[in-house]
Amino acid sequence: MGIHRGHKARPAEWLAEKFIFLVSLSAILMVLLIFLFVAREALPVLFGETNTALVQKPIPPDEVDKHSAAELEAYLEITPDQLARMSKETLRSLMDVKVEAQNDIPEEFRNDPDARINTTEWQYLLKAHQWSGYDKPEHIWQPVGQVKKFNIIPLFVGTLKVTLIGLFFAVPLAVGAAIYVSQLARPRTREILKPVIEMLSGIPSVVVGFFALLVMATVLQSIFHYQTRLNAFVAGIALGFAVIPVIFSIAEDALTSVPRAYTQGALALGASRWQTAWQIVLPAALPGVFAAAVLGFGRAIGETMIVLMVCSASVMSWSIFDSARSITTTIAAEMAEAVSGGPHYRILFLLGALLFAATFLSNMAGDFVIHRFKQKLEGKK
């Protein structure tokens, strides 16, 4: 409130202050609105209002008068308003399409028990199910086809797999670099290194993905000799490059903001620079470094392009040398073709809402830890 301390704020200053306040308020509002929008699109799945059963009993178009308006609305998936506006002929051709769709089902699916299942029920979304043609119960994400399979577990496994590989690669490197730059490097070296590492974040992720797809995949395969050329390991390493600058700059801030008295004390007591950095400064800055890792996690789990380009088979496997399909990849790749308002569309929004919640919580946890750490260093607690 510096403005109020001296003389009274001039009208222009007052206006500018209020304007900035409004802008910041609108950012919060925006986040809230986006979440509400995503959640609203996903709600019908949560309430079990979607039905994907392939074989349904069609209502013969001639019997349209025997059914109530509510029944017709549910059957034709239209709103009461649309039904009221619809002419007799339109209604009739809509009923015909329903019957035709049933007649178009290939013979082999007609008697398939799977074709009578509503695959958007929770048990099919989460639990393994033995679909016909499979030898054992499996988690299957195959959202396009006659029987649509929407099991989201392989996507969660894929997301976690790629994210964790990325973090295992990025955290040691980024924190190591942060320790070196903030504690050990000469001022001259620091002035060059810091902007260079932070410049990594300026590389568009699609470029990193392209590089990984063409070059890294081949190089890593010739080193590790695994079978699948494009897999979670390659994607994780590529993701690491995107995450390193995030973790580095926050960790470096945390390490630099450890009071100089700590370092000077340690050095005066005869510790070497290494001992000071490793045993005094790093422990003091640990909450900040942890927060950096958490924010890096949020960045990694939300990254789309790299994973989309490098690996995207929705295979249910924890092996790092198998492929993986992340949630972001799934949304980016499939949203364009999903029938808007259909079950596939709703489930993609559900995935989006879950991802939003995950990044939101991890960012909040990171912020919380940073805040506590600052208070501790300033001696308020």
């Binding site: 998936e77 399409v97 086809g145 079978q227 050329r229 995207s312 088979a313 949203m335 029938v339």
Partner: protein
């Protein structure tokens, strides 16, 4: 994400300009290059007509057709029942379907692979994951790596329905963002197999396909696709609201399907419609 935002912005922009003399075309990524070529040539012949073409996918095109933000919808697959219903609700009629070109889908393998031909059943077996080693189909003793398209692609759906007979793709099938990416991957992986438009094959090897064990192996060429002897081919479509199918739009649609329009199809790598299919 960026792409869909762009499409949204475009949809907003085009919805305003859907006036006479202005034709908006949206839909299949498979067709987008051909549609642009057609638009370019047609606009140079008719300077008073403006045609705006954008891609995004067949599903995007159908959604735009329902919302009436596009005049023509390009599609690499037939309209689905759910989309048909939405169109009927939106404009009280079924959209008119025009076939505009033929596309042959080829099966690519690495040039080092000694295999030359497969039956349709074997192709299905490989892509569903039942056949896991090349030696099961007469090739070298090596595990097969399967490359497939994203499930948003019309090509994916066509392949799943007609070659896999509705069965699921193997979970381990690597999904690639485009046909060019599949070819790229197959060229780098000597055990790889992929599928896509014949025109995109590049220097990968296109397998000859046998319809059954007894039938001859046919390679995808213009002749075999157009006379229907090559077994994996499909139509490419344009859909239009029948109420809009008059005046400039009708003229454009009939030009596309005339000899003059069809001669550009081959430049893009698809095949022109046989004469008997041009009027419907």
């Amino acid at each position: 994400m960026k792409k869909s935002l762009f499409i949204l912005a475009l949809a907003a922009a085009t919805s305003v300009s859907a006036l006479a003399g202005n034709i908006t075309v949206k839909g299949s990524d498979t067709l987008v290059i051909l549609a642009q070529k057609w638009a370019e040539v047609y606009m140079s012949q008719h300077t008073d007509v403006k045609i705006q073409v954008s891609g995004g996918g067949s599903g995007i095109g159908f959604a735009a057709l329902q919302n009436q933000t596009t005049d023509l919808c390009d599609a690499s697959r037939k309209i689905k029942a759910a989309e048909l219903q939405k169109c009927i609700v939106a404009f009280n009629a079924r959209p008119t379907e025009y076939k505009v070109a033929l596309d042959g889908l080829s099966v690519y393998v690495n040039p080092e692979n000694s295999l030359k031909e497969l039956t349709l059943d074997q192709v299905g077996g490989i892509f569903t994951g039942k056949i896991k080693n090349w030696k099961e189909v007469g090739g070298p003793d090596a595990p097969i790596t399967v490359y497939s398209r994203e499930n948003s692609s019309g090509t994916y759906e066509f392949f799943k329905e007609h070659v896999l007979k509705g069965k699921d793709f193997a979970a381990s099938a690597q999904t690639m963002p485009g046909t060019a990416a599949i070819v790229q991957a197959v060229m780098k992986d000597k055990n790889g197999i992929g599928y896509g438009g014949a025109a995109y094959g590049g220097s990968s090897k296109l397998l000859a396909i046998k319809k059954t064990d007894a039938s001859p192996a046919i390679s995808p060429t213009e002749e075999t696709v157009m006379n229907g002897t090559y077994p994996i081919w499909r139509h490419l479509f344009v859909y239009v609201d029948p109420a809009k199918d008059k005046g400039e739009i009708a003229a454009y649609l009939s030009w596309i399907r005339s000899d003059d329009g069809q001669k550009y199809v081959k430049d893009i790598g698809y095949y022109p419609l046989p004469k008997n299919l041009r009027s419907n």
